[in-house]
């Protein structure tokens, strides 16, 4: 199943794919492109990925999320290409028997995605310039001390987000 796409993301499709009668909680997380970054006006954003690795890491992230939190379903799809303000760049769908696990799992999944998946944001600013956002070094090979690297939060660089709980 594809985890990286240049097509508009469809949360409804992911919800249908993950329908499960044992689940009483559904979390849909969408990361959306916002119109500012560190005080500068952003007009649009371009996402690029190294697909061979990104696909595998997202597949593993879905499985790890299910295992860690005991949630029944987890689907993650990330968009690449040029996105307009307000468009969804990533959708994460988690279903579990109870809401607590689903909330925790979805939050962990997006936090971890930001640290592990080879995807890059290039901001196009209103003044006509553009710049790649600085990111998180992939800890597995940033240096030979990789095993001691601790994940750091990147919430401050995150796109605008929306979180819906349907239980």
């Amino acid at each position: 199943m594809e985890h990286i796409t240049d097509q508009v993301l469809d949360p409804e499709l992911l919800k249908r794919e993950t329908e499960n009668p044992t689940c009483g909680a559904l979390i849909v997380f969408e990361g959306t492109v916002r119109n500012h970054h560190r005080g500068r006006e952003v007009e649009r954003m371009e996402y690029t990925a190294y697909k061979p690795l990104a696909e595998r890491v997202l597949q593993e992230l879905e499985e790890e999320t299910k295992r860690r939190f005991g949630v029944v379903e987890c689907r993650i799809v990330h968009r690449i290409g040029e996105l307009a303000i307000g468009e969804a760049s990533v959708v994460i769908v988690v279903r579990s028997a109870h809401r607590g696990d689903a909330f925790d799992a979805a939050e962990w999944a997006i936090d971890t995605l930001k640290q592990r998946v080879p995807i890059w944001k290039n901001d196009f600013y209103a003044d006509g310039t553009r710049a790649y956002q600085d990111g998180v070094p992939l800890s597995a090979c940033g240096s030979d001390e990789h095993d001691s690297a601790s994940p750091r939060s990147s919430r401050d660089t995150q796109s605008g987000n929306s979180l819906h709980n349907q239980e």
């Binding site: 190294y50 690795l53 080879p118 790649y132 600085d134 998180v136 070094p137 992939l138 090979c141 940033g142």
Partner: protein
């Protein structure tokens, strides 16, 4: 051997990929040193990059054969 760049590294290198004249097999760390000498604009990025072959991230101590491109990945910013 073929070296491919992603994200900000494409801007720094001025291209998406280059052919680096280097004997293979060769250690990743050695390839990066050569690369930094060939393209000084990459120097400041090298300490924070990850390297991959195919869908595997590999340590700098690894020997690569050059059969497949060496992929250079800058710090990530998805989401």
């Amino acid at each position: 051997m073929r070296i491919e760049f992603y994200g900000v590294l494409q801007e720094a290198a001025g291209s998406e990929a280059i052919e680096l004249p280097i004997d293979t097999p060769s250690r990743v760390a050695h390839i990066l040193e050569e690369l930094g000498e060939q393209i000084p604009a990459l120097q400041s990025h090298l300490p924070r990059i990850a390297c991959a072959v195919g869908d595997e991230v590999i340590p700098r101590s690894e020997m690569v054969s050059g059969d497949a491109p060496l992929i250079l990945l800058p710090p990530v910013s998805g989401g």
